[in-house]
Subunit: 245 residues, 2 copies
DNA sequence: ACCTGAACACCGTTCAAGT
DNA sequence: ACCTGAACACCGTTCAAGT
């Protein structure tokens, strides 16, 4: 839960000026939009409310941003750029490609977990090109990924296959992981417990009922690691077939 | 592409009555909503437009459906129920659990490919419980899946792990596959080619540029099969550890 | 240069009223 | 019983006008 998200409009200061005089900018808008989604979900994000949050009328936003839809794309970009500022993530392979792929995977996961309610945007906005598959929607990453593998001996076709395997691994895992952390919800309502957790309508589903507890456990972290290991093994196999074929 | 989706309102007859007199019903509404999404994408789906499509004012819909959001949940349900009508899919294991899991996986994939623009809904609506992870949001499926594996010797914890692995495999693959088939797009606009495909701004990304072609190829089908095979192998490993541990 | 008021076309949703 | 007109509160977006 966050506070500071009420109706007061004023920007939280931090080391900023007394606010109120910081001029609007694309960056500030996008930042505010992301933090709004983090706090309230995408459904509640409105140009008018966002303006209010920035101490400004909605129409002012259109000086800096071409429209709501485009703004959401910028939000996606800004999440993605956080990875780039994370210097460790985007260095080329130094201790082998496995280490390299691991760094990238964990970097993306870190972003997803920092913004569980916004991450589905990264996943669901339509990809602009086949070489920008979600959630790797950034040419710098993709270039680094492909060039890194190539430098380590993967041929072109294998690089492409590894790229596809990597993206679908990330997408499946991270989307489900953030969904469990209470992602997208429709309007503004958080899902309410019905009070009595025993009357769940599971009478007709004895196995589900019995497995309730193991199914409810959050193994996301270890499963991410394990699946990543498997992916790496699969890639190693691809690589060895490359060299010998 | 579909036709029949213009502005004329009238329902296509099929073996129906002369239409115009078929009364509204939840079923007809949900069906129309799904076919609208299939044809125009989610963004364009409006209660008013949907009413128009059914030859009725928007307000009439609220007699049969509690609201737009709830209607979308019904749309998800209806897609999911198509799998249930597909008798082959939900039979319990007969030729071993591998065959069983394969049937289920292919069934879900068939639904996804039938409704590429609607499938992301199945994936992105918030799950109601940990035992309803997208895209397997149906207690009958989940029960069948879990009971099937249990009957084949998987213990409870392993069943739960297999369930999680299965869902994240399906989600990652199918979401990316339908995205490639032109999924969600923002408003109504289909993405337009910029005319000149050589000037793509890829100058700074030599590897991406070089791999354009292998990256553009659609290997979704074979990759689905291969990843599914790997998943089955992984599950087989889980099973053997179960028996011997 | 930067923001706003007023307006437009469109939403989802409600409810009393029509047939 | 089933549908609609009219209305409400809210959207995104535009543009001439304010400071």
């Amino acid at each position: 839960m966050e506070e500071q998200l009420d109706a007061d409009a004023e920007v939280v200061a931090g080391p900023d000026l007394p606010s109120a005089r910081v001029p609007l900018s694309e960056e500030r808008i996008v930042e505010a939009a992301l933090s709004f989604i983090d706090g309230h979900g995408l459904a509640g994000l409105t140009m008018r409310r966002l303006g209010q949050r920035l101490g400004v009328e909605a129409m002012s936003l259109y000086r800096y941003v071409p429209g709501r839809e485009a703004m959401l794309d910028l939000v996606v970009q800004s999440m993605i750029d956080q990875l780039q500022e994370d210097a460790e993530v985007l260095r080329r392979p130094e201790n082998g490609w496995q280490d390299f792929v691991q760094r990238l995977a964990h970097g993306v996961r870190r972003v997803a977990l920092m913004h569980p309610r916004a991450f589905p945007l990264v996943a669901s906005r339509p990809p602009e090109a086949p070489w920008l598959r979600p959630p790797l929607r950034n040419l710098d990453w993709v270039e680094t990924f492909l060039a890194g593998l190539h430098q380590e001996g993967f041929d072109d076709v294998t690089c492409a296959g590894a790229y596809r395997a990597f993206t679908s691994f990330l997408l499946g895992h991270l989307l489900l992981e953030v969904a469990n952390h209470g992602a997208d919800v429709g309007p503004l309502d958080v899902l309410e417990d019905d009070g009595d957790p025993s009357r769940d309508g599971l009478e007709r589903y004895p196995t589900v009922l019995r497995l309730r507890e193991p199914l409810s456990q959050d193994h996301a972290a270890v499963e991410f690691e394990e699946s990543l290991e498997e992916l790496l093994e699969r890639m190693a196999l691809m690589l060895s077939e490359t060299s010998s074929g």
